[in-house]
Point group: C2
Chain length 657, copies 2
């Protein structure tokens, strides 16, 4: 830090969490760098750590970061809370009166720990200084421009001096939205005048990347005896880590009509890494609380959990969380079809077996994207986009080009343009990529088709209407007058309009909510507390499945992660703030051995804005699984686990109670 | 060849010239490959070589390529000519009658040898097989798509399976238009499944790349005593090498009005490499003959060579070689201003000193090109183009963006898109690059500016007229209401229209002729025959010099090459077809020691189509220099050298005559 008086890359006086970078060493090989690292001595004075967010916001808590600004907040006794960095409140109707008038009221507290994206390859960045004062960065990322922005901001250099080239992504889940190493590599490259490569080890990933935040949620729901929800009072306390903020509490309502609300959201500074995005950020934790609590309401009412959800679900015309009226009965349709596929109410269950349902909502993001389509002389097609390829995106984009131009998908190739080559492009995240880039690609391909038809008519010297079929431009109704796409492409290069191409830049496509529903069937061993997942049906309102195999893969992958969060994963901290499980041995994630074959239900009721009616599909499948498992455990053995993950120890403890 | 039954990469039975590739070896290092090469034994039966094109077309000449098809042509005695592969004729008026009626008739024969582009770096290509069956090729080239076309054609694979990435060009001059090694590297990569790099040695460059063809020209010009040209009869015999064709004879007229013509062009197969493009292909050789012959006409008439040229020059409304009426008096203006700058008729000359003038015409090419302009959040601008950067092209394109958007040129960066990223783009050759790509870039930047103004008006919430000045969008007449370009760029990303960008694809910009005029002043040592170039003024009709320094550099570099061809360069063959000077020791090119400071005259009379009135400038300066030197030598010592290069030996021999 002393060497970089104007930059905030290293702490100056206070290290706020285990794993925080305090110095940087580069050498010609990693062994030499390790040896050099060993020569750096840091003396720490150990302060008291803030590990639990509830304890951390108490009036007598230690400061997680000495002298850092906090938000003025008072506790019930009017004493100033400590370490609060964010607060927001959402009030509708009169929640106190509604709770007083409710036929049943259910209140519980839920706890979710930090958890990690555990992408396949660890973070890496390579930076090369250029002779013109610029720096080129290669990194695996969800958004090359996001990296450019963040490197520019961190190093205080203009955006135009940075070129970011995205490499293949081996796993992202939101963890590749943000700079992890690129600004360090770029800085070292600019300082040394030499190329620099930086790669994380797995323990470093756990300690200092951008995991999902933990939180503590308190929910109180009121309902009439017919199952109509009337009141929701809640408080979510987000762990902000050492430098984060706080999400709002809106998602605690999300996908149900509740006329009276009072929801509070806190962000509390702790001695942990700054949390970031993990697939459906904010939604997983809130869904666990909300869907667990809703199941408790159903139990209190003696009502079927599916019935309760159908009664309160948002329907056509209701405003979504994003404030937009729903076009169709997407949520109820997804609940019904998923429950049916799972055999809800019909499946014969053995002893200690139970079924649980949970629902989720995600409104996809949108943002700037671009597409340039061009036809080569062999009739094949190139697509250039700035949209990073994750979870098969480029395959889907190739399909869209194929669909619009009628060329086989194998003849479409997709290239990722770097930050010097394409206009600003949003991260491939938030379930926006196929939705938004797919729209741009479709429109670019349409423009290319218009150009093809114009060129074809000129080639055929006709004023009659022409059509593009079977890779030919033909006079409509006279297929004998035709020119092949390859021959046409080769013929136009030297015409004034030039090559066959189409181009589209856009900044925003109006989003729609997508809904997902999981039904889990479990068997619990009352001797060991072990929960075995017998069946998981993942249903989703996908609008239109552009590539059903990839969409099913999304649903299965998301559900697997959701089950992992429900049953295995989570950061475990000692009281001193040390992370106890920063490795894939102690931080378990589900493998094929832990999972049944996840069955999927694709509900295809198109929305009006996405390409061919498609909605964003990436996020929703990770959200409801943990709650579905908790609800199934309750159905199986009658105990309610309110803290994730649902480990054998917790089940046994609950049974003991 | 036996291993590649369907490909024509290696000769099957007959090797047609020294240096022809007969086999290919790849190894993990060059030494190993050399050792392996030494194990290949080839037994040759030596046949009689065709070295001289005139002898080669004689009825009793040996076949340069056994059994290869030739064109049916008869000699003056009606006997079938041998080895003729191309013939064309251009007839206008009645040349026999015009010659008979002329006051003077001058006839001569001129000889020009093969010569080489001698680009700085030798040819190279690296190919990598991709997992999807594609192959990526990196090569220094003037046109990535030209390479893609040629690899596709040579290997019989679809264009879409090849990706060509252009690397920096260290010298081209037409010699990088064509595949030299890329198809061999690509083939070997596809066969071995491994990356392959191939690099030429300098002697291999001379022996088997694509040098400029030699030729023998016979010209007979008739004129009236007032200097008006009335008749031109000519025959040009081009060396086609072992597999080439023939250029037409039109350039023998080029830039003068001659009402009666008969021009013949032959292509004759020889046992030499296939010739290719060298800066102003075809124009250099014809200009040497034409401009020498014209000087002889002036001498015969006792007329000033400048005066003769001014009298017969094409002027406004006259059709250029490309069939287009000249818009302005470009040629005469260039002759006048160049002659004036050189001190024509005024400079005091010593003994054995003389001045010579020569003129040239080049109509630039055009073809498909593209440009995509986008503004970053710091107000800097990116340009993506498929147009390969030679001789400062990308600098000029950056200037055009700078001009249109009013951002400093340092804030504009230019990227070369590869064949997967941009629409088909023509080679950077034929003086088309700044002319054509510059037009596309200007139009793309104009579209970006329109978008900027629209976004700026929206940002400023005004319906009043706005303007883009000093990197701000401002309300016209009220500079206090303004938004900076950087802030504006950052603000629009999430608006429906998205980032600030502009895009243009085009296929053709109507070309215009450009004229160049050289005036050389030489001193000849009658004892040694050595010609010393005292002064060279290179004038050129450039339309508008987009970057005067670069344009001057073009003029000086071209003039240096022209002088090299005039005084030093040229392939020398033995009678057996062996090249005697395949290296830069025996094939001399001019260095700074051989040249005076070349003075330039930029004639800026805009044409109506090029960007800002600019014309193509690359080719014209290489054309007239050799003839100007020959004419100056004649002026100095009264002897006419008709064969290039003008070596001391030839001067001495001519003096001896």
């Amino acid at each position: 830090a002393a060497d970089l008086p104007n930059l905030d890359l290293f702490p100056r006086d206070e290290v706020c969490f285990q794993g925080q970078k305090v110095a940087m060493v580069a050498a010609e090989d990693p062994d030499l760098a390790e040896d050099a690292l060993a020569l750096i001595r840091v003396r720490y004075e150990v302060l008291q750590a803030v590990v639990d967010p509830i304890a951390g916001m108490a009036a007598d808590a230690p400061e997680a970061r000495l002298g850092a600004p906090t938000r003025d907040c008072r506790d019930e006794q009017g004493r100033p809370r400590r370490n609060v960095v964010g607060y927001s409140e959402l009030v509708e109707g009169d929640v106190a009166r509604a709770l007083a008038e409710a036929d049943v009221v259910v209140e519980s507290e839920y706890r979710i720990p930090y958890f990690h994206q555990t992408y396949l390859e660890t973070s890496c960045a390579t930076a090369r200084p250029e002779t013109n004062g610029r720096v080129t960065v290669w990194t695996s990322t969800q958004g090359t421009f996001a990296i450019r922005d963040q490197v520019a901001g961190a190093l205080h250099i203009p955006h135009g001096r940075i070129r970011v080239i995205g490499t293949q992504v081996g796993g992202a889940f939101g963890g590749r939205n943000d700079v992890v190493l690129a600004c360090y590599a770029a800085l070292m490259a600019l300082r040394t005048g030499r190329p620099v490569k930086a790669v994380m080890k797995r323990d470093e990933e756990f300690l200092d990347s951008s995991p999902a935040p933990g939180c503590v949620v308190r929910l109180k729901t009121g309902a009439r005896s017919d199952g109509t929800l009337t009141a929701l009072e809640g408080r979510i306390v987000w762990e902000a880590g050492w430098a984060g903020g706080a999400d709002g509490p809106e998602r605690l309502r999300a996908l149900y009509r509740v006329p009276n609300l009072r929801l509070e959201g806190y962000g509390v500074r702790t001695n942990k890494p700054t949390p970031g995005a993990y697939r459906a950020p904010g939604a997983i934790q809130t869904a666990f609380a909300r869907e667990s609590n809703l199941d408790q309401v159903a139990a209190a009412l003696g009502m079927d959990p599916v019935e309760l959800r159908l009664r309160n679900a948002l329907g056509p015309g209701d405003l979504s969380l994003a404030g937009k009226p729903l076009e169709r009965d997407w949520l109820r349709e997804t609940i019904r079809r998923t429950a049916e596929a799972a055999g809800w109410g019909k499946r014969r269950l053995g002893p200690h077996q139970g079924m649980g349902i949970a629902c989720a909502e995600w409104t996809n993001w949108s943002g700037p994207t671009n597409a340039a389509v061009t036809v080569a002389e062999d009739g094949s097609v190139s697509l250039l986009t700035g949209q990073v390829d994750i979870t098969g995106l480029h395959t889907v984009l190739a399909q869209i080009v194929s669909e619009e131009l009628g060329v086989p998908v194998e003849k479409v190739r997709v290239s990722l343009g770097d930050t010097d080559m394409v206009p600003y492009t949003v991260v491939s995240a938030g379930s926006l990529a196929a939705y938004t880039a797919g729209t741009a690609v479709r429109e670019a391909a349409c423009r290319a088709r218009e150009r093809i038809l114009r060129a074809g008519a000129e080639f055929l010297q006709t004023e009659e209407e022409v059509e593009l079929v079977q890779q030919q431009v033909r006079v409509k109704g006279d297929p004998s007058r035709a020119v092949g796409l390859a021959a046409l492409a080769a013929s136009v290069h030297w015409k004034p309009e030039g090559p066959l191409s189409g181009h589209r830049v856009l900044g925003w496509v109006p989003p729609h909510p997508s809904f997902s529903v999981h039904v889990a069937t479990v068997e619990v061993d009352p001797e060991t507390g072990r929960v075995r997942l017998l069946d998981l049906v993942a249903g989703q309102d996908v609008g239109r499945a552009l590539n059903p195999t990839l969409v099913e893969g999304q649903l299965q992958g998301g559900a697997a992660q959701s089950v992992g969060l429900g049953m295995m994963e989570g950061y475990r901290y000692g009281e001193d703030g040390r992370l106890l499980n920063p490795n894939l041995l102690d931080y378990a994630i589900p493998t094929a051995m832990d999972l049944p074959a996840i069955r999927t239900v694709l509900v295809e009721e198109p929305c009006s804005d996405g390409p061919y009616g498609a909605k964003g599909v990436g996020e929703p499948p990770i959200i409801p699984g943990a709650a579905a498992v908790a609800n199934a455990v309750h159905a199986a053995i009658g105990v309610r686990i309110t803290e994730l993950p649902i480990t054998p120890e917790r089940v046994l403890a609950a049974l003991g109670d």
